[in-house]
Subunit: 305 residues, 2 copies
């Protein structure tokens, strides 16, 4: 576990390397399709706006940890970035969070227009499933594995997962007296479910047995929670350049956050304990991918210190 | 072909019977899921607003024509109604067609609010894929068939199909000089692709061989075109009660339509010839489901007379 003993250095470079691999695939995965020009431009604008590509990295790391090779899995990994990007476009809409900036650039509806932004989100979400299914083409992933993996993603992204979590987030924003358990459950739906599904889908793509799927789920649930708590902390202590949005936006919007409920120090402790639980879920697995995943869990929390 | 010789009577009752079967499944398919209350209410409001349930009927008719039984296919058939419903909710949004009425009732964002309507659409679209995948559970549809069927639907609903068609529709609305070929191609994406995918998916669910999948596609392409031309005609000659929206709304919105380009009589002739082409695609198939499908093609056109 040498990677885990020096997480900040190794994991950042490793994550970048993995992001580049996904980036190369994303660069022209929409080319050659019959998509109207303005819609295509809008989809590509948000898809190529950068980001850590954390979700595809999780899919690929678990698939490789459990014995599947990477190349034919890239479309599936990329589909998670399609889904994540659609959710950001729709969250930013005037009727939702009404955000003008995303990663330091005009949000999609500011750069294009509202109708185009809605359609770009709808297109990315639907095309994500096309990408997943394309993995079944000639000599790719066996169909039963693919169905289990896609099923996990659809359940996590839908009304009982990410979409439901965004509905609760809107309900809770500016509502005083949101309880810790409500906040936890909302984030588990809004961000935790899809992150967990990435890990579980990676395991299914490799045809992993149930105990190993459970480890992937356990890792995902805890890393997802750690990630969200760290995000809340960064909104208080981060800097605008790193965040790509103004610091303190949660407080101005009246959002209940982990720091607002628990304070900074307790939030940091909680994030650390969730990251440790994620690493523990992979205990005993001697594999470079397991080293990366353990280091990644700690790195996510380190960012918030 | 007794059904085809008296299409208006038989097919209407038969279509109603098939709609009731889908309706019974839709009635509680969202129950027991962990969906926030207001979001669930919004999704059910539009899902249960009626309609002919044409798309599920096409899926089931082709699956049965090619030898698959219906019961385990209901979730897949229902998923097409989820996708159709999401598209209506998003099309009605203020940033899109800005329609206050849908089937004689307030449109979703009028009954709830814009954010909820966007999320209800996102939820229905994502949950549609969950429904499809649920057909693979224990003793259901073999995974390779399911993947082919779902792949056809995703491609038809995405940015190269329905979503792209809506983007073009917005671009063409109020733009003078839309050519016949542009109109045809736009409708083929906006409504034709998903209707065709219903037929193709039904064939795949039954494990049909390529020549039979091609017949399903040929039928779908032509029925989809006939359906759209009839829809344009009904907007001119129909009555408000049947349409659930004011007559003449296309003209007021400045939309180019088949009647505006070709006149009513030529439009009717074109619709009839596309319906005939749909029926011809099933020539020689002696089966009650083929009788129904042929009669359905003619019935769609009869409505516009």
């Amino acid at each position: 576990m040498s990677a885990a003993s020096n997480p900040a250095l190794d994991v950042k470079a490793e994550l970048k390397k993995r992001a580049d691999e996904v980036e190369a695939y994303l660069a022209d995965c929409l080319r050659g399709r019959d998509i109207p020009a303005r819609l295509l431009a809008s989809m590509e604008y948000s898809l190529h706006a950068g980001g850590k590509r954390l979700r595809p990295a999780l899919v690929l790391a678990f698939a490789r940890l459990y014995g599947a090779d990477g190349a034919e899995l890239l479309p599936f990994a990329a589909s998670l970035e399609f889904i994540h990007t659609y959710s950001l476009i729709h969250d930013d809409l005037p009727a939702m969070d009404d955000d003008d900036l995303r990663r330091g650039k005009p949000s999609n509806h500011k750069q294009f227009d509202e109708a185009t932004a809605i359609l770009a989100g709808d297109g990315l979400l639907t095309d994500a499933f096309s990408l997943m299914f394309s993995c079944a083409d000639e000599g790719g992933v066996p169909a039963p594995r693919l169905v289990r993996a896609a099923q996990a993603v659809a359940a996590a992204a839908g009304s009982g997962g990410m979409v439901g979590g965004q509905a609760l987030d809107m309900e809770y924003t500016a509502r005083p007296g949101v309880a810790f358990e409500e906040l936890r459950a909302m984030h588990a739906m809004k961000t935790g479910a899809l992150i967990t599904a990435c890990c579980v889908a990676g395991a299914h793509l490799a045809g992993a047995e149930p105990p190993f799927v459970r480890r992937a789920r356990e890792y995902g649930i805890n890393v997802g929670a750690a990630f969200q708590i760290a995000d809340d902390i960064l909104d208080v202590v981060g800097d605008t350049k790193t965040l790509g949005k103004p610091v303190g936006s949660d407080e101005r919007q009246g959002k209940t956050t982990y720091p607002s409920l628990l304070g900074l120090e307790k939030s940091r402790q909680l994030a650390k304990s969730r990251a440790d639980a994620a690493a523990d879920a992979l205990a005993g697995l001697e594999h470079p991918q397991a080293d990366f995943l353990r280091a990644l869990a700690l790195y996510i929390v380190e960012r918030a210190h």
